[in-house]
Symmetry: C2
Subunit: 366 residues, 2 copies
């Protein structure tokens, strides 16, 4: 009967006490152990293939080595890029990432938060836009508060609607710049694949786009603002509906890239050429876009860096975290009244071939 190998076994084989074995293997901060004994302990550990029990260590130390990450869908390139940044930063800090996927269900988000709380994750990164749903937000807020009260730290990548450290993308402003750039290319008739009505990210992008157009005396017809899921398939079906109703839009703004990709596919399937026939623009600049033709006009968001930044924000308290391509500059970092930090990440316009300008130049604006 072997059973699991414990530190006691190692100590016994090495002929030392439990305490000495612990110190030899871990290198206690205060105590030190004679190299002669250390060798013996290490040899015994190797011989027995001893692997320290991290759960027991967590108990004794009162601290785990896990970092939680909650995303909406890990297969979505938006989230998988963020996840890459998070795992990278976490592993640099000696932590492992515990991944939860909500499948776009806000209630699962709360449930996952509770699981990570029970796991005593050192910190939690929550990625993904918030919803305008009081009930869900209340539950989420409670779960967050409970976790933080127990000593956990949180960083969100979303709108700054909770009192936790937050990385917020400048959705409205960037969408506005995109609108202006499209106007600059000659477009005058716009449609918007707007995502779910109560999805805050979608709303900010919609509204920022519309506001900038309004500043130019332009607007999006109500019937040309399509409500749809925040996914690739949502973009596809939304575009289908748009094309079915005889729209006069020259260019379509999809509030994220995966939706824009769905829209491009729908256009192709309907025999409409993207670029010449109708313009399409997205938001995020997901990695996938490198291999899409025509190139999709979009707003570039440094997703991997944002993931790493959020991780460090959650890990490093009350000071500016390490640099992330300038993202954590004083310029973008503010400390709110409740002490939590907010980093605003600007997007940058990327004009590509999907919006070359309208085929037939419309009349000048009056």
């Amino acid at each position: 009967m072997s059973g699991p190998v414990t530190l006691s076994d190692v100590a016994r084989v090495a002929g030392v006490s439990l305490a000495t074995a612990s110190r030899a293997i871990n290198g206690s901060a205060t105590r030190t152990v004679r190299s002669e004994l250390r060798e013996k302990v290490l040899a015994a550990a190797a011989e027995l293939q001893y692997a320290p029990n991290a759960n027991a260590q967590a108990m004794a130390r009162g601290q785990t080595t896990a970092l939680g990450l909650i995303v909406h869908d890990i297969a979505d390139p938006y989230f998988s890029s963020i996840a890459a940044g998070v795992t990278d930063a976490a592993e640099s800090a000696g932590l492992m990432v515990t991944l939860g996927s909500t499948q776009h269900d806000p209630e699962r988000e709360v449930a996952l938060l509770q699981v990570l709380h029970r796991q005593r994750a050192r910190a939690i990164v929550v990625a993904g836009g918030r919803h305008d749903d009081e009930e869900v937000n209340t539950a989420l807020s409670r779960a967050l508060a409970s976790y933080r009260m127990a000593g956990g730290t949180v960083a969100m990548i979303s709108q700054p609607v909770f009192d936790v450290d937050t990385v917020a993308i400048d959705n409205a402003e960037s969408a506005g710049q995109l609108a202006q750039a499209l106007v600059g290319r000659g477009y005058r008739q716009f449609a918007v694949l707007g995502g779910p009505k109560d999805h805050l990210t979608a709303r900010e992008r919609r509204d920022g786009f519309a506001a900038a157009l309004a500043g130019q005396g332009l607007q999006v017809d109500d019937q040309d603002t399509i409500e749809c899921a925040f996914t690739r398939d949502g973009g596809y079906s939304g575009m289908q509906r748009l094309l079915a109703g005889r729209t006069s839009a020259q260019v379509v703004f999809a509030v994220n890239d995966v939706m824009a990709l769905g829209a491009m596919a729908a256009a192709r399937d309907a025999g409409v050429e993207v670029g010449r026939g109708i313009g399409i623009a997205g938001f995020d600049d997901i990695a996938t876009l490198r291999d899409v033709t025509p190139g999709l006009t979009t707003v570039q968001v440094p997703l991997v860096a944002i993931g790493a930044l959020a991780t460090n924000l959650a890990l490093v308290h009350h000071e500016a975290p390490a640099q992330h391509g300038g993202l954590a500059d004083a310029e973008h970092l503010t400390t709110r009244r409740d002490g939590t930090r907010l980093v605003r990440v600007p997007g940058s316009l990327v004009m590509r071939d999907s919006t070359p300008g309208p085929a037939t130049s419309p009349a000048r604006i009056s």
Copy 2:
């Protein structure tokens, strides 16, 4: 001074013993608690915002609720799709996924395995092709054996080169079918973007492709077999090199889709039209391909299902795991002599517009 809320606190507030509180909150298998007391305990727990310490539970129960997942790169759509299947299946089993990313470094794979071992993860899924590197494989084999000896279970998504449950993709056979289909479309001159020399997945696909061609009296010139990284950028630079040397290839087989996407980009950048100018084919049918034009000819592999299957394989011992679109049929499931199971997953050909047939039909085969 509050400090962390423990079960003792809940018990005290509820006016019951520790044991009763434990049973009320967990619902012990054998014992039961009077509903009156249970209510009181639950109320106390809610009032105190009690969250059970999963580490302590793990200690007491001798079992954790974590499942490890090791991938090469979570931002790669191949792995993020597998990860989606794994997280899905894991959460169905009440487990959380602990994610490790190797960044294509085999040594990190061993290190991550050890970390997950220390974490006492219930099971570990290792995804990603193996290398023909004895030193690395020995270290990995040791780490796997050590983990399994301690009671952990493992499933790999790769070549069946270790004695653990394995899901293996029929690389050689599928690549062969692809070759035949390309010949059927009239191609006679082939090039291969072959990935790293010692990468087994790449090798199997290369060799399967070449063998099928040989069966038709055809072959790939040595100078038309390009060695490159197993990534999108590897495919890009490989294709650049291929085009730089004046190749006479009519069609290029990239041993995975992300490489094929890189190759398509390189062709475009070089002014060569994919499809008419030169054919390109890939392998995997990653989700990204839906939005690529022209459509990429490839071998479809059910990645999400494979992730879920591997997870169940790791979780369910000594019997056939739940169905996964027929993947675990007796037809594909074999039990090896060492008792480990092997599921061979066939790929299925998907011919798309990237390989319409050669522009100029070559002379008939003699």
